[in-house]
Amino acid sequence: MSSLVSIENVTVRYGRFTACDSISFEINANDYLAIVGPNGSGKTTMMKTLLGLIPVSEGEIRFSSDFRFDQIGYLSQKVNTQGKHFPATVHEIITTGFPSSMKNLPIKDKERMIRSVTSLLGIKDLLPIRIGYLSGGQQQRVMLARALVHKPKLLILDEPTSALDPQIRDEFYQLIQHLHQHEHVTIVLISHDLQSVSLYATKILYLDQSVVFFGDSDALCESEAIAQRIGVQAAASLCRRKEHEH
């Protein structure tokens, strides 16, 4: 399995506070990796460091030679950051998903890519509508379309379901599952909801400033370190749900 990104002993500090302490893991092509942990465990810091938004204090992040930074798609936990009055249509918002390296791509090619991603996500009819007029679930799909429009190899999602109601949340996880299995997009999903993501992810990274667990999701419920963190009953529940899924 080829490694897309290699995180080696990465430490991130804000002044004297250490948010991530000597973290190492790898993201391989076609992984569905869930980064989980309690609030303040360094999940979002780790994700922002991966995206180049926060500098590494120590350690190194290495991308494979055939992987470019502009092949990353990113879905933030903030949906429609500017509120309902921002004057932009869904089409205009999705165009902001093209990286600078695609600036000179012909408009007709960009339009084809926009049509393709909006068809895939079932939001083609929303293109001329202002973003602020859409429901939370629709806005989330628009943001996902923006993250996918340039056909990224790696999709990073930061707590994407935190603002969604339970039914839409399940639909959203199934959509991500579809992208992983049928579109072969490598997924990195940040979440505090271990129970839900462990059903879908193939690998789990459990953080609490440092790495508590990193491995296949099947091995998660048997981990003593996880049982100590979330409690024996919760770990047993994870095992039962996993067995039920299988």
């Binding site: 180049g52 938004l53 990113y74 950051t81 009055h85 004057p87 202002r130 923006r146």
Partner: protein, 274 residues
């Protein structure tokens, strides 16, 4: 104001010049306006207008062209505001306030040193587009086209940055570079606009058309198109009204812009838009 007055007004060279320069500046300022208003940078325009007051005073003291003297100094002031805004202990609004009040104080101080140009200074405070010279016309048109061209070139980057700065950074956009480009374009537009409505009213050319267009709930490009139409209409109506009724041109343009805003605001409220 009937058609005869409009036709007779168009016979005059000074009216042709005023309309030409006014329309070009209306386009560049309203095009720029949407990025400044949505990024909460509207008051930078106001702060830089105060800086241009000081630079005009210096230009008149040394008997130089205010346009040529003002542009580089106002650009430097815009960089200073950006730099001060990045400091944790000074907010963006406080940075604008510092630079603006210092500049006005400096302008008043300089004008008190040299008696005799206070009348000229007054014309730059409230605009004097009807007495614009040919060289200023050419200079204004070239710079307006430059501003519009640069915005068009960086349009997608500026839009991405305005909507979601963090995402724009992930997509490889350079926020510091784009902020500086916006600051330079704003500085040029401010200096050009002082001829039209004066240093006291120039920020209205940037803010009013955009805010008026925003009331109409359209997409980004449509909002820009509406702002440009509103801005051109206000400038043309203002210039003709000032010719026909002997009103001061700059303030008439701003009052027409205010009326457009009041109408669009009422339309939105009546239609129940939120």
């Amino acid at each position: 104001m009937n058609i005869d007055i409009i036709i007779s007004a168009l016979q005059y060279t000074f009216m042709q010049r005023a309309l030409l320069v006014g329309i070009m500046i209306a386009i560049s300022s309203s095009f720029l306006g949407i990025f400044l208003v949505l990024r909460r940078y509207s008051m930078i325009g106001d702060g830089l207008a105060h800086v241009s007051f000081a630079t005009v005073a210096f230009a008149l003291l040394f008997q130089q062209s205010p346009l040529i003297i003002s542009i580089p100094i106002v650009i430097l002031a815009s960089f200073l505001i950006l730099k001060l805004s990045e400091e944790n202990r000074i907010g963006g609004d406080a940075a604008i306030g510092l630079v603006a009040s210092f500049s006005v104080a400096l302008g008043v101080f300089v004008s008190s040193l040299a008696k005799g140009f206070n009348v000229d200074l007054f014309s730059y405070l409230f605009g004097s587009i009807l007495v614009i010279g040919q060289s200023d016309v050419i200079f204004s048109i070239i710079l307006s086209i430059t501003v519009i061209g640069v915005i068009l070139f960086y349009f997608q980057d500026l839009f991405a940055l305005t909507y979601d700065e963090e995402y724009a950074v992930v997509m490889g956009k350079k926020p510091k570079k784009l902020s500086r480009i916006l600051a330079v374009l704003t500085s040029i537009t401010i200096v050009l606009g002082i001829r039209v409505v004066g240093t006291m009213l120039i920020s209205s050319l940037i803010i009013f058309p955009t805010v008026t267009a925003l009331q109409l709930n359209r997409g980004f490009k449509q909002t820009i198109a509406l702002a440009i139409i509103i801005s051109i209409s206000a400038v043309v109506l203002g210039i003709f009204a000032s010719f026909a009724f002997n009103f001061p041109t700059g303030s008439t343009i701003v009052l027409v812009n205010s009326a457009f805003f009041a109408i669009s605001f009422l339309i939105r409220v009546i239609k129940g838009g939120n």
